[in-house]
């Protein structure tokens, strides 16, 4: 008995240490975003001054707006393409080179971002495309599509094929069967995939800096270039807002995927 409790005390300590290691820097950042002092490292009392400053910083607001637009549009395109890819790979007839295709789909998961960014830059230069909003969006779609495909495909894999057959047996053509049975069942995974793509796009610096053009910096690029000139407390405020946004999105995504898996196991009582 004593042994168990001692072990659990040890566990609590290691858990606290691990969490501190992960979240202490973020906590300090959040705390200092409410700092009244101009100096980043000196506490000068509570204030919302830097939030005020941020909302009056046109360039920063523009970058944030740019990031949001890129994140929403690339996540939406990636979700569409990723879902289609997942459906094709898990539902389509077995064709030659299927394994190769699914392997190729997942390659961007492990590909260094520098390489993805550089190759896309070379592509856009070769195509003589004007770099800006659309090039970043396309690049982020490339990056995040595979994540969506992984999430949706794993959900599709756990779905019983006979559900679609039952729908067809009860009068649905194959398309209708997919829309009325499969789609509602994989919807949580699609939502989770979108959220994942959104956050990935929002905090990407490397690929965006390769593929963006003058006058269309995303928020991470903007923050990075500001920090190089010295950290202003305003950066803390911006980062706090981004953290809040991402936290909300991640919580929604995990709730959605939880809902998705609990619906799948029809054997488990609620």
């Amino acid at each position: 008995m004593r042994k168990v409790s001692r072990l659990s005390r040890f566990n609590i300590a290691s858990l606290a240490l691990g969490l501190a290691f992960l979240y202490l820097p973020i906590l300090i950042l959040v705390l200092y975003s409410f700092n009244a002092s101009r100096l980043v490292t000196v506490w000068g009392g509570w204030s919302l001054r830097w939030y005020h400053e941020f909302f009056n910083d046109r360039a920063m607001i523009e970058a944030a707006w740019m990031s949001l637009r890129v994140a929403v549009s690339s996540a939406t395109i990636a979700t569409l393409l990723g879902t289609l890819a997942a459906v094709a790979l898990s539902r389509g007839e077995r064709f030659r080179g299927r394994t190769l295709f699914s392997g190729m789909l997942y390659a961007p998961l492990v590909m260094p971002e520098v390489i993805t960014g550089l190759s896309l830059l070379l592509l856009f230069v070769a195509l003589n495309a004007e770099r800006g909003f659309w090039t970043v969006t396309i690049a982020h779609t490339t990056l995040t599509m595979c994540f969506v495909a992984v999430v949706v495909q794993s959900r599709l894999g756990s779905l019983d094929r006979s559900l679609e057959e039952a729908a067809m047996d009860l009068g649905c053509d194959p398309v209708r069967a997919f829309v009325s049975v499969t789609l509602p069942l994989i919807a949580p995974a699609i939502v989770a995939g979108w959220m994942l793509a959104f956050t990935l796009s929002l905090d990407d610096l490397v690929i965006a800096s390769f593929t963006t053009g003058p006058g269309s910096a995303t928020l991470p690029i903007r923050i990075y270039s500001e920090v190089r000139l010295g950290v202003k407390p305003e950066i803390n405020a911006i980062c706090t807002l981004v953290i809040a946004l991402i936290a909300v999105v991640i919580v929604i995504a995990s709730l959605a995927s939880k809902l998705s898996s609990s619906q799948g196991e029809s054997a488990a009582p609620l």
Binding site: D160, S162, L163, E165, A166, A167, M168, D169, L170, G171, C172, D173, P174, R176, V181, P184, L185, Q263, G264, E265, S266, A267, A268, P269, L270
Partner: protein
């Protein structure tokens, strides 16, 4: 053992979408249907006629092609060869939703995101039925499978038996001309399975519908079906009533697949009126009744069901004035297997073979029960034997 189920001719056509063909009329004709997966010939030239109102069972070991055949009837697979005629129309290439056939899936395949009511109404909505009619039909189906009060539940809030009923109600709701059931009771425990068997039979009789059930459980097939098609390696080995299948199997494989049986290999020796004498290695010369179709000469197997074998301590006592030709074999009890209702004895014959005898335990306190190593006489009449090509 039921040979033929009594059928009612009152097809409930008044309430149905399509009037059912009258019972006994030909409904489904399968002509030389074959299906190959890669190099594996799953179904190999099956021809079969099903009459309206029949309860037909496809029985066979796993991998015999019975499920593939059923899936071809439902439209999930298309046959490579042959025709499937439903009411005279070839539906072999039709898509599942174009067929007036519904299927109950082995794992039920209930839609987890829909309530019981919406699951049952699913096919009716697709058929473009009016809202009020759907509500009426769903209520009717819910009552039919005794699920009142559970309409709003999701499938994951139901027990296995309740889910099975929802699946049945959903498949029946569209009033198909033909209902396919793929191992419908496999997921239920034994007691529930037995009571559900009875309910399914009762339902089929009441609705006057045609059922085709796929099962690997021969007891289930025997209990429920009016006719059984035994499949082996993609082919129909025998199509017969349960009684015929059990008492007059066409081949050695069927005899062994359906129920327990004693088999003795031998050669025909001589003919005596309607009797044949077959010399077997393990049980000596056996006198058997001549089969309906002449069998010629050559190698045969003599088959006797264990419950047809009688045991006694001193052999049969012939009734006064009547001489019956019987097969009398001496042996020693080698194994006893008590099964409650019956006891199966394994008798080591003096001629070398082993003979199984199943004896009903008709008395609670059985002073005549045999014990191990006891000398006994086993006997059976010529009519109890089946001669099979070896």
């Amino acid at each position: 053992m039921t040979d033929e189920l009594p059928r009612t001719d009152t097809a409930t056509s008044a309430a149905g979408r399509d009037p059912y063909p009258a019972a006994g009329q030909p409904l489904l004709r399968i002509e030389g249907v074959a299906k190959t997966f890669g190099t594996f010939r799953a179904v190999d030239g099956v021809s079969l006629d099903i009459k309206a109102g029949e309860f037909f069972a496809l029985l066979g070991p796993s991998g015999c092609g019975k499920t593939t055949l059923l899936r071809m009837l439902a439209g999930f697979e298309t046959p490579d060869e042959g025709r499937i005629l439903l009411g005279g129309k070839d539906i072999a290439q039709a898509l599942p939703h174009e067929r007036p056939i519904n299927m109950m899936f082995q794992n039920y395949a209930l839609f987890p995101h829909l309530s019981v009511r919406d699951n049952i109404a699913f096919g009716l909505k697709r058929a473009g039925m009016a809202r009020a009619d759907i509500a009426t039909r769903v209520a009717e189906m819910v009552a039919l499978v005794k699920l009142e009060g559970l309409e709003k539940r999701r499938p994951d809030q139901l027990s296995g038996g309740q889910r099975q009923r929802v699946a049945l109600a959903r498949a029946l709701a569209r009033r198909p001309q033909l209902l396919l059931l793929d191992e419908p009771l496999a997921a239920l425990d034994k007691k529930l399975r037995e009571s559900t068997q009875g309910e399914l039979m009762e339902l089929q009789r009441r609705l006057g519908m045609t059922f085709i059930i796929v099962t690997h459980d021969q007891e289930e097939a025997m209990t429920m079906a009016s006719r059984i098609g035994v499949m082996k390696a993609g082919k129909l080995a025998q199509v017969a009533s349960p009684r015929e299948l059990y008492e007059a199997p066409r081949s050695r494989w069927i005899a062994e697949f359906v129920g327990d049986i004693n088999l003795f290999d031998g050669e025909s020796k001589l003919r005596d009126g309607h009797r044949l004498v077959i010399g077997t290695r393990d049980a000596g010369a056996l006198v058997v009744a001549e089969p309906r179709e002449p069998i010629g000469t050559g190698r045969f197997a003599v088959a006797i069901r264990p419950e047809k074998v009688k045991l006694s301590r001193r052999g049969p006592v012939s009734e006064a004035g009547r001489e019956t030709v019987i097969n009398r074999l001496d042996g020693v009890i080698a194994d006893i297997c008590y099964l409650g209702g019956t006891t199966t004895y394994k008798v080591k014959l003096d001629t070398g073979g082993m003979l199984q005898a199943s004896v009903a335990n008709s008395a609670r306190i059985d002073v005549d029960a045999y014990s191990l190593n006891q000398n006994v006489v086993a006997w059976f009449t010529p009519d109890d034997c089946v001669v099979l090509p070896s």
